[in-house]
C-alpha cells in the first residue's frame, strides 16, 4: 500500500497539465460527485475532427485531479472518433494502482465528464455505462 500515491500521480497532482479554461471551447461538460464533493469541468477545442486543445478545472482529491490531468494528456491531439474507445481501463492503467470502489468514483470523474462533452459534440447518446443512475455522480453538459 505504500506506493498508493506513486510518483506520477503526485507529479500530475502537483503539476497539473492542461489546467484552466479555453476561450472558445467546441464542447464542455461538468460533473459532481456529491458523496465527496469533488467537482470537475472539461472543455474541448475541436478542429477537423481532432481535439486540438483541452482544459480541465475543478477541485477534489489527488486521485480525481491527477486522473484528469493524465487524461487530458491522452486526449490532446487525438481524433474525436478514436476517443469513443477510451474507457475506465485506460484511466486505471495511467494511474497504475488498485482502487477500492469509493476511490474508483474519484478516478472516473474526469473520463465521465469527457464522455458527456463528447456526446454533446457528436450528438451521440452517452454510453450506458456512463449513465448509470446508481453511481451517484451527476453530469451536466455546460
Amino acid at each position: 500500500m505504500d506506493d498508493f500515491y506513486r510518483e506520477n500521480i503526485l507529479d500530475h497532482y502537483n503539476n497539473p497539465r492542461n489546467h484552466g479554461h479555453l476561450d472558445h471551447p467546441s464542447a464542455a461538460a461538468e460533473g459532481v460527485n456529491p458523496l465527496c464533493g469533488d467537482e470537475l469541468a472539461v472543455e474541448l477545442e475541436v478542429h477537423d475532427g481532432v481535439v486540438t486543445d483541452i482544459r480541465y478545472s475543478g477541485r477534489g482529491c489527488a486521485i480525481s485531479q491527477a486522473a484528469a490531468s493524465m487524461l487530458s494528456d491522452v486526449v490532446k491531439g487525438k481524433p474525436v472518433d478514436q476517443l469513443a474507445q477510451i474507457g475506465k481501463e485506460d484511466v486505471l492503467e495511467e494511474l497504475g494502482i488498485p482502487l477500492s470502489p469509493i476511490r474508483l468514483k474519484c478516478a472516473m470523474l474526469s473520463v465521465g465528464v469527457l464522455k458527456v462533452a463528447l456526446s454533446e459534440l457528436t450528438g451521440e447518446p452517452l454510453p450506458p455505462e456512463w449513465n448509470d443512475p446508481s453511481d451517484g455522480i451527476e453530469w451536466k453538459s455546460a
Binding site: P34, P101, I102, R103, S134
Partner: protein
C-alpha cells in the same frame, strides 16, 4: 387410508449437522422443531458469517476510504447481488435491505401508498393475510380515505373465484396485496394470475413472500408482481430482509425513512435524494445481518431451492396423511399437493395452547394461536389452531414424533 410415501432429494443427515441447535436436547428429548414458519433455525454457515464479519471485515459501509470500510462495503453490496439473484430481479437497484417483511410492506404502504392512493380509491387484500399484510393497508385506507376490500376464501382456504368476480366491478383499485403462501393454511396463491388481474385494473400487486421465499424458487419477473417482501429470519438468516420493487415504481416514490445515506445533498432548506437502492436505506443498515442474509441465501441455493421445495412437498403430503389418520384431529386448508409445508389442525376440543404444551414436553416445538391471522380464524369460526410447519431440516421422524405427541395429547385430555 394410505399414507403418502415419503422420499426426499435432500441429504437430511448432512443438513441437520449444519444446524447446531438441532443437536441440543429439549427437556431431555431430541428437539423436533416444527415452527419454522414463525422463524427458522440458523445453519453454522450463517452464524460463522456473522462471526467472520465482526472478526475480519467490520466497519460502517459506503463512506470509508480505509481497508475495513471498503471490505465491509464490498461484502454488504455483494449480499445485495446475491439477493438480486435469489429473487431473480433484473437490477440490483431494485433490492432494498430492510429488517423484515413487515418493514418492507410498511415501506410500500407509506412511500407508495401515501403518494398514489387517495380518497375514493380502492385497495384489495384477502381474508387470509397475515396482519403484516393487512394492518398496513387498513391504516393506509384510514389515513387516505381509500376503501379496503377483501377477496374471500372458499371452505378449503383458497381464494374464492366468485369473490374475485364480485370485486371485479370495483373502480379505482390502486393496489392489490396478497400473500404468496398463507402462513396459517399453507395455501399457495396464483401470483401471475393475480398480477394480471391487478394490472388490468391499473393497480400494482404487492406480494407478501414471507412464507414462500424460504421454501421455493422465487422469480419476481416470472411472477409479474410489482413489489415482493421477504424476511431473512424465516430463511436461515438473521434480522434482515428485503423489499424488491420495480425500479420505475421505486424511482417515482418519495423516500420512506430519511436521514444519512439516503441523501444526495442536504442544505438547511432542501434535500435531494440518493439513487436507488440507497434512497430507501436511511441510516446505517444492518451490515453484518444483511451480509449473513446473503450467506443464508447462498446456503439455500447450494442445497437447491427446487430440491427444498420437493422435499417439503413430499413431507407435507406425508404429514397431512398421518394427521388425517389420527381420530379426533381436524385439519384446515387445502389438501396436498396444492399446499405448502404448513399444517394447521385441532385435536378434539383441546385448546391449542394445551396441545402445544403437551408437545413441548416431548421436545416438539409447534405454534398455537391465531398465527397473526385473526380475520382468517374468524372466517373459519376458530379461536386458534395448532400449527406445525416444516423446513429443509425436518424429516419423517419429526412427523412421526408429532403423531406420537398428539396421541399423548389425546390421552392427557381423554380425546
Amino acid at each position: 387410508m394410505a399414507v403418502a410415501e415419503f422420499t426426499t432429494p435432500l441429504d437430511l443427515e448432512k443438513i441437520r449437522a449444519d444446524f447446531p441447535i438441532l443437536a441440543r436436547p429439549v427437556h431431555g428429548k431430541r428437539l423436533v422443531f416444527l415452527d419454522s414458519a414463525a422463524s427458522s433455525q440458523k445453519p453454522r454457515q450463517v452464524i460463522e458469517t456473522l462471526v467472520d464479519v465482526y472478526e475480519t471485515s467490520y466497519a460502517n459501509v459506503h463512506r470509508g476510504v480505509y481497508y475495513l470500510g471498503a471490505r465491509a462495503t464490498e461484502r454488504y453490496e455483494g449480499a445485495r447481488d446475491i439477493m438480486t439473484g435469489f429473487v431473480n430481479a433484473n437490477d440490483r437497484r431494485e433490492v432494498i435491505f430492510v429488517r423484515e417483511a413487515t418493514e418492507a410492506l410498511n415501506l410500500v404502504a407509506y412511500a407508495y401508498g401515501r403518494t398514489f392512493v387517495g380518497p375514493g380509491d380502492a385497495i384489495v387484500a384477502t381474508e387470509m393475510e397475515h396482519h403484516s399484510n393487512l394492518v398496513p393497508w387498513q391504516f393506509l385506507a384510514q389515513q387516505t380515505g381509500a376503501t379496503l376490500h377483501y377477496l374471500r376464501l372458499t371452505d378449503d382456504g383458497s381464494l374464492d373465484p366468485d369473490s374475485q368476480q364480485r370485486l371485479a366491478a370495483i373502480e379505482n383499485v390502486k393496489l392489490v396485496a396478497v400473500a404468496h403462501v398463507s402462513n396459517s393454511l399453507g395455501t399457495i396463491n396464483d401470483i401471475p394470475a393475480l398480477a394480471t388481474w391487478a394490472h388490468e385494473r391499473g393497480a400494482v400487486l404487492v406480494v407478501d413472500g414471507a412464507q414462500a421465499a424460504p421454501h421455493r424458487p422465487v422469480d419476481v419477473q416470472a411472477l409479474g408482481c410489482d413489489f415482493y417482501a421477504l424476511s431473512g429470519h424465516k430463511m436461515c438468516g438473521p434480522g434482515a430482509g428485503i423489499l424488491w420493487g420495480r425500479a420505475e415504481l421505486l424511482e417515482k416514490m418519495p423516500p420512506f425513512l430519511t436521514g444519512g445515506e439516503m441523501i444526495r445533498t442536504v442544505s438547511l432548506e432542501k434535500t435531494t435524494w440518493n439513487d436507488l437502492p440507497w434512497k430507501f436505506e436511511a441510516g446505517t443498515p444492518a451490515i453484518a445481518e444483511s451480509i449473513a442474509l446473503g450467506a443464508a441465501a447462498q446456503y439455500l441455493q447450494g442445497i437447491g431451492m427446487e430440491a427444498i421445495e420437493a422435499h417439503e412437498h413430499a413431507l407435507t403430503a406425508y404429514a397431512y396423511d398421518v394427521l388425517d389418520g389420527i381420530s379426533g384431529v381436524t385439519q384446515y386448508g387445502p389438501k396436498p399437493p396444492n399446499r405448502a409445508g404448513i399444517l394447521s389442525f385441532n385435536v378434539g376440543k383441546v385448546h391449542p395452547h394445551d396441545v402445544a404444551q403437551v408437545l413441548d414436553s416431548e421436545g416438539i416445538a409447534v405454534r398455537a394461536g391465531h398465527h397473526c391471522t385473526q380475520p382468517l380464524m374468524r372466517r373459519f369460526d376458530l379461536q386458534a389452531t395448532t400449527r406445525a410447519s416444516v423446513y429443509l431440516y425436518n424429516g419423517r421422524d419429526d412427523i412421526d414424533a408429532l403423531a406420537l405427541g398428539i396421541e399423548k395429547v389425546k390421552r392427557t385430555f381423554s380425546v
